[in-house]
């Protein structure tokens, strides 16, 4: 099981009914991954992925500090996320809340993100554990990734087994 197909692929697992765990290795030392994760100008360059562009990234990186990201999607919509930093250990660990801003959403729907940066042979293993207040919230977060439509391939076990490791 140690031989993963590619360490450059994010692996998503669902450890419990209310958690999502995302892991990925990066070919850079910890302090650089941490910098790219916490510096607004840098976050702007990757956070939207292929889905749009970042309109603004505000980060007040201290315990109790707030963050807010606004993305303009390719479809022209603005979506925003915000939260608060709960714990910060530079280059090691960040704990913050996250709320997807939409009508009816309140801070009681906030997920708790626990990001850890770990050395791995000159590379960095990043683990993002998302703790949600309920299974419904967790499922909604996963559904938000469903824009590409259903993939038709049936290569079930190998990939599912890997994604569940």
């Amino acid at each position: 099981m140690a031989t993963m197909a590619s360490r450059h692929t994010a692996v998503v697992t669902l450890p419990t009914d209310t958690q999502i765990l995302i892991t990925r290795d990066f070919a850079a030392p910890r302090h650089l991954v941490y910098r790219a994760w916490t510096t607004p100008e840098l976050v702007k360059r990757w956070w939207a992925g292929q889905r749009g562009t970042m309109k603004s990234v505000d980060i007040d990186l201290r315990v109790g500090g707030k963050w807010r990201y606004v993305m303009t999607t390719n479809g022209g919509f603005e979506v925003a996320f915000h939260g608060e930093y709960r714990e910060i250990i530079p280059n090691e660990r960040i704990v913050n809340t996250e709320v997807f801003e939409m009508p009816g959403a309140s801070d009681s729907d906030a997920a708790l993100n626990i990001v850890t940066f770990t050395d791995a042979d000159g590379r960095t293993s990043l683990a993002l554990l998302v703790e949600t207040p309920s299974k419904e919230v967790r499922d909604a977060i996963i559904e938000s990734g469903m824009e590409g439509g259903m993939q038709e391939h049936m290569d079930l076990l190998e990939e599912v087994a890997i994604s569940l490791l």
Binding site: F26, R45, A161
Partner: protein, 118 residues
């Protein structure tokens, strides 16, 4: 809603590490329970218990072959989970590909000109 329920059932069944091992073994072909007992190093009652759970959610089928019962994988119930999580994973992959580019640049800056680093 129906999908969430099915997903949860099959998902819960595969959340257990031993059951994933059983599925891994069965992915390579049909097996009688004794093979599983041997390969996993578990007691037969435990293996049977796991097989029962897997059968309940439809992940494992069984057929009689003479005096033996052969278990085999039925992957279909996993497809919804697979698809469901996969597209979420894909959105993170896109994001992280962009992060890779940023990191390449930071790596170069830090290593300085004329120094290729590793």
């Amino acid at each position: 809603m129906a999908r969430a329920a099915t997903t949860t059932d099959a998902f819960n069944a595969v959340a257990e590490p031993r059951r994933r091992q059983i599925l891994d073994v069965l992915a390579e072909g049909e097996r009688p329970v004794n093979d599983l007992v041997e390969m996993l190093g578990l007691a037969q009652p435990q293996v049977s218990k796991h097989l029962r759970v897997l059968r309940e959610v439809g992940l494992v089928d069984v057929r009689e072959d003479g005096r033996k019962r052969l278990y085999r994988l039925n992957g279909l119930p996993l497809k919804p989970i697979h698809d469901w999580v996969k597209s979420y994973e894909e959105s993170w992959n896109e994001r992280f590909d962009g992060l890779d580019d940023v990191l390449d640049e930071l790596n170069m800056e830090e290593n300085g000109d004329g120094d290729d680093g590793e």
